[in-house]
């Protein structure tokens, strides 16, 4: 670099002077950036596309098959798909909940801190300084927004596939009542909200695992394995006493939202349980991350 660059740099620093008077970006800038980066990643889109494929596959399979689905075989609500396409969304969610959704959430939540540590960007974020607590909060919000995006992807893809391939009209609920099309969309949104809340506990667990390692794949795998283990434990009658404490226990209990009037009891119980997991694993993640030496 010669004289030219030197004068450039001097003028650059002069031009930078207004930076000091401009209003600081504040803490929210990092949240905006986190969400931008999350949804600019090809990986995120691949996960969402895979999720969208689940209801579409169900719809296409049912449409192409000559025999009508019989009650009691296949996933719940599958037999209703041919009568009302909106059930594609519900069936899609039910099929995705045990594995596909926890898988994608495990990938995103397990990657939160460990991914940054693995890339080495964690040290630059903290040297900026992002603040360790705020970074944890931002990362958790990012994972939670992904949960929302994931469930809404399944529901939206299901509704669209249902609209395209099956008759859609007023919906007959489990209670026998019939609701208008507009209200049935509202119910779909409610169910998506229920499933999103269901995944918040798992996201907190993933965040905690993510603070333990610099290998993101490890944290992802641990989170996903734990979600499977919880469901296995939930299926063993010998462990009845444990079931209400498992974060996966209420995952499929959104049928109450398909009754008239809507029964919010299960929604509340589930939200309380997920809040408990968020509190415990959030505290563990905080305890681990705030004192951790960043050596990656």
């Amino acid at each position: 670099m010669s004289d030219k660059t030197f004068s450039d740099s001097v003028s650059a620093s002069v031009a930078m002077a207004p930076a000091e008077t401009a209003r600081p970006g504040g803490a929210w800038a990092l949240l905006v950036s986190e969400l931008t980066v999350l949804f600019r990643r090809r990986r995120t889109w691949a996960l969402l596309l895979a999720l969208a494929a689940v209801p579409v596959l169900i719809a296409v399979a049912v449409r192409l098959s000559s025999q009508a689905p019989t009650t009691g075989r296949g996933p719940p609500f599958l037999d209703q798909v041919t009568q009302n396409g909106l059930f594609v969304a519900v069936t899609g969610l039910i099929v995705s909940i045990p594995l596909f959704l926890p898988l994608t959430v495990g990938v995103v939540a397990g990657d939160t801190i460990a991914g940054e540590a693995g890339l080495g960007t964690l040290r630059y974020l903290l040297a900026a300084p992002a603040g360790r607590v705020w970074l944890l909060v931002v990362k958790y919000i990012g994972a939670a927004v992904f949960c929302l995006a994931a469930t809404f992807t399944v529901v939206t893809a299901g509704v669209l596939a249902g609209l395209a391939l099956f008759p859609v009209g007023p919906l007959t609920l489990l209670s026998g009542d019939t609701i208008s099309l507009a209200e049935s969309f509202l119910r779909a949104v409610l169910i998506a909200g229920y499933v999103t809340v269901s995944l918040l506990g798992l996201s907190a667990i993933g965040l905690f695992f993510s603070t333990l390692t610099v290998v993101p794949v490890g944290a992802m795998a641990a989170t996903i394995v734990l979600s499977v283990v919880a469901q296995v434990l939930d299926s063993l009658p010998q462990l009845d006493w444990l079931h209400p404490w498992l974060f996966s226990h209420y995952w499929l209990d959104f049928a109450d939202l398909l009754r008239q009037p809507i029964d919010f009891t299960s929604f509340g119980t589930n939200a309380l349980l997920q809040g408990g997991y968020l509190l415990v694993f959030g505290a563990l993640a905080y305890g681990r991350f705030v004192t951790k030496d960043i050596l990656s």
Binding site: M1, S2, T5, F6, D8, S9, V10, A12, S13, A15, M16, A17, P18, A19, E20, A22, R23, P24, G25, G26, A27, A29, L30, V32, S33, V37, R40, R41, R42, L119, G120, T121, R123, Y124, L125, L126, A127, A128, P129, A130, G131, L135, T291, D293, I294, L295
Partner: protein, 347 residues
């Protein structure tokens, strides 16, 4: 360390800073004093604790014991106040490979609460321009070469006006042109009043850009001060002459222990009568460039001779002097003397 550096304000100060990993001591009670406004070289072989010290200074790792203050504030207690004024490149650049260079800088800049959002793009563009990456700003970092990533890492440290820059091995992976550019950049930043703390294992680099330096070895701080202070000590006087034997005799008469240097091509000393040889001897000179009155012609016990007296003596002794110069101790000699020779990592 001289009283002068102690008196000035310090950009970085550590007191008995120690960092242990299990039983291993990575940093062993170092007392570092980096004066404000200096370009400070932090030297040491690989694994001597440089990067660990930097991590502790930036609050990335906690000290096992001892204190650190940066820009007059204690760390990591006042981290949120200190770090926005510090630009850092720690243990190599690190970026999101799936984002472009500019997007990476915007991402890292958004983590700094003090950084205004309004002129973020402009500041990112300026930082990229400053390290010569404007043309690659839109390229994904996964397509960057090591040298380009290194430049991007330096650009990241320059996103905001900084009072202190901590650059860990800034010329790693750069070609000679890039190395020169970094040196010029550091000099221009220092000219603007920024304190620059550069860690390196490349001595030439430190000799080229630094005003002060410290030398680490196996976790301990073995020397620090201005470059002149570090280099102070023995110099060597070197004489190019075909009359090697006579030169050695004359120098011995002046109290200097001279020796014949082996020929550079490894042939050994060529004894043919007219070939040039280099004869050299360690010498302690009065500080040159300072007003120390040379004790004329005295070959006192310390061997305090003026250069011209040596030449006089050689010529008077019938030695055909074809070349003569006095070589200061290079930082390299000093470095090797303090940290030991050889490639083995000490720990």
């Amino acid at each position: 360390m001289t009283p002068a550096t102690r008196a000035g304000e310090l950009a970085i100060e550590t007191r008995a800073l120690t960092k242990r990993f299990g039983h291993q001591i990575a940093v062993d009670a170092i007392d570092l004093a980096v004066p404000l406004g200096s370009v400070f070289g932090f030297l040491g072989p690989n694994g001597s604790g440089k990067t660990t010290s930097i991590r502790v200074m930036l609050g990335l790792a906690a000290a096992t014991s001892g204190e650190v203050s940066v820009l007059g504030e204690s760390m990591p207690g006042r981290l949120a106040r200190v770090l926005p004024q510090v630009g850092a490149l720690v243990e190599g650049p690190a970026f999101y490979p799936f984002l472009s260079g500019a997007a990476n800088l915007r991402r890292l800049d958004s983590a700094d609460r003090a950084a205004p959002t309004r002129n973020r793009r402009a500041r990112v563009d300026r930082a990229l321009e400053r390290v010569g990456l404007s043309n690659a700003a839109g390229k994904k970092v996964s397509a960057y070469s090591l040298g380009m990533k290194q430049r991007l890492g330096i650009a990241n440290a320059l996103l905001m006006p900084r009072r202190l820059l901590v650059l860990d091995e800034p010329t790693n992976g750069l070609d000679p042109q890039g190395t020169r550019e970094v040196r010029a950049l550091v000099r221009s930043l220092a000219g603007e009043g920024t304190t620059v703390f550069v860690s390196s294992h490349l001595l030439a680099e430190v000799e080229h850009m630094c005003t002060h330096a410290a030398i680490m070895s196996a976790g301990r701080l073995v020397a620090q001060g201005t470059l002149d202070e570090l280099r102070a000590g023995e110099a060597r006087v070197r004489v190019r002459t075909p009359d090697a034997a006579a030169a050695i005799r004359v120098l011995a008469g002046a109290g200097l222990v001279a020796e014949l240097e082996p020929a550079p091509d490894g042939r050994g000393a060529d004894r043919s009568s007219d070939a040039d040889h280099w004869v050299s001897a360690p010498i302690e000179l009065p500080r040159r460039g300072r007003a120390a009155p040379a004790e004329q012609g005295s070959s006192s016990a310390g061997g305090q001779l003026a250069e011209e007296d040596i030449v006089d003596a050689l010529v008077a002794g019938g030695v055909r002097v074809r070349g003569f110069h006095v070589q200061d101790t290079s930082l390299e000699d000093r470095f090797v003397a303090l940290t030991g020779e050889g490639f083995d990592v000490v720990r």
